[in-house]
Assembly symmetry: C2
Homo-oligomer: 113 residues x 2
């Protein structure tokens, strides 16, 4: 993740995990710590390319992580520490979420059109 | 878009446009009006499936719109009113943005794992 919050990704194709979630009001500090730890841990995984994340004051958030392959996504999903975070997310932190895995076909940035 | 901010999408495959942007501080009211109008207009386009959007207090936002086909995305990109909005985005409203078009391969919601 660049300093400004944008992921620096390679030429497509690569993969995106689009995670849309609604936070409960439970445990804001614990949640923030875990979210930060998950980004740190994801960055250490094979095939990780970058992550972008935003959450509004209404509690709705979108995190998109980018990966080289679907196998890298599966391995990250199965990581024991990530699984603990997923369980806590289910039980306490999210009122609802939707997860989508997508193959990025093309992309451009401002000034590249 | 459902009341809670989640898009109701069909069984994959379908397409996602991931638009990550950093807002300038310019014209917050005009921007908010245009953003609302673009959602309203997008919903009227053929092949539109839904949209999810979040922007944090740091100005970084992610909007993901979902579409039946790549042709629907191309038609929406070329819509004259949308092109006006894109031009204003370039000139005034965004410090930077990244746009990615992706094919959603699989998805699940909370409780469906």
């Amino acid at each position: 993740m660049s300093a400004s919050g944008f992921a620096t990704t390679p030429k497509p194709p690569y993969y995106a995990v689009i995670f849309t979630s609604l936070r409960t009001t439970a445990e804001p500090e614990a949640y923030a710590r875990m979210a930060e730890r998950m980004v740190e841990l994801a960055q250490q995984q094979p095939g990780f390319l970058g992550v972008e994340s935003a959450r509004g004051s209404d509690g709705l958030g979108i995190t998109v992580s980018y990966w080289e392959t679907e196998a890298a996504i599966a391995a990250w999903k199965a990581h024991w520490e990530h699984r603990e975070a997923q369980a806590l997310g289910h039980e306490r932190w999210y009122g609802h979420f939707e997860m989508r895995v997508a193959r990025v076909e093309r992309g451009y940035g401002m000034g590249e059109r």
